[in-house]
């Protein structure tokens, strides 16, 4: 995971364009690799995502967590690092600043391994006691 901050009001308004710029730069560089990339835009809709009814943020700055997932730690780190750097380099029409589109931290942080729940944990059974066996043992008699 990496973290970037946006403060230029023009970039704040066009955060999606910056994210797209970043995504396509990563796709160009790591096109053949299997990876997933997520952008959590705090200050806008990071917590509710598609459920968020507030469509226009009043925030004057946005924090974006860049989350990269790949087959190995090393590749995930490489892709996430690259994505953060591409955010810094993103070119959006109309931006006055030329030295960097996003404020960034120095290094990405390692998260826990990614997983997706894919086991059906509801087990069809014939007898309601089937999964709760009772064993009676006589002790101290």
């Amino acid at each position: 995971m990496g973290f970037v901050g946006l403060r230029d009001p023009h970039v704040v308004r066009n955060a999606d364009a910056a994210i797209e710029w970043c995504r396509s730069a990563v796709a160009k560089r790591f096109g053949a690799e299997q990876y997933e990339l997520y952008f959590h835009v705090f200050g806008r809709d990071a917590v509710l995502k598609e459920l968020e009814p507030v469509q226009e943020t009043k925030a004057h700055e946005l924090g974006i967590v860049v989350e990269g997932v790949a087959a190995t730690d090393a590749l995930a780190e490489k892709i996430t690092d690259f994505a953060v750097r591409m955010f810094f380099l993103a070119r959006i029409p109309g931006v006055k600043g030329t030295a960097g589109t996003a404020a960034t931290t120095k290094k990405t942080m390692k998260s826990s391994p990614g997983y997706m729940w894919n086991v059906n944990h509801t087990v069809p059974i014939d007898d309601p006691m089937e999964l709760f066996p009772v064993h009676v043992t006589e002790a101290g008699v």
Partner: protein
């Protein structure tokens, strides 16, 4: 008046890995009945509030005895999947607080 002025508890929480459930609990029958009568919280209105098709709401029930409304949404992906930022679903109730309850 807002829903948060009338309800004593408004919360969201995981209901298994694939669903998030919401509870709106009122301190008395009067405020509960007032919200029901206003039609401000219905299956359709919460779908609209959260910008989702009604088909993503698996259950919507009202409990007169407890002065409570409960509804449950399907997640798009299981809790904890890459990209999920509220793995316990505990902050999804935010927009409900602001729902306007007409007099």
């Amino acid at each position: 008046m807002k829903l948060s002025d009338l309800a004593s508890t408004i919360r969201s929480k995981n209901a298994g890995v694939n669903q998030i459930t919401f509870d709106i609990i009122f301190p008395d029958a009067a405020s509960y009945q007032r919200v029901l009568a206003s039609q401000a919280i219905t299956k359709d209105s919460v779908a609209k509030l959260f910008r989702i098709p009604v088909s993503r709401i698996s259950d919507f029930v009202t409990f007169d005895l407890a002065n409570a409304i409960k509804f449950t949404l399907y997640r798009l992906r299981p809790s904890g999947s890459p990209g999920d930022w509220d793995i316990l679903g505990c902050q999804q109730y935010g927009p409900l607080l602001e729902v306007d309850i007409p007099d």
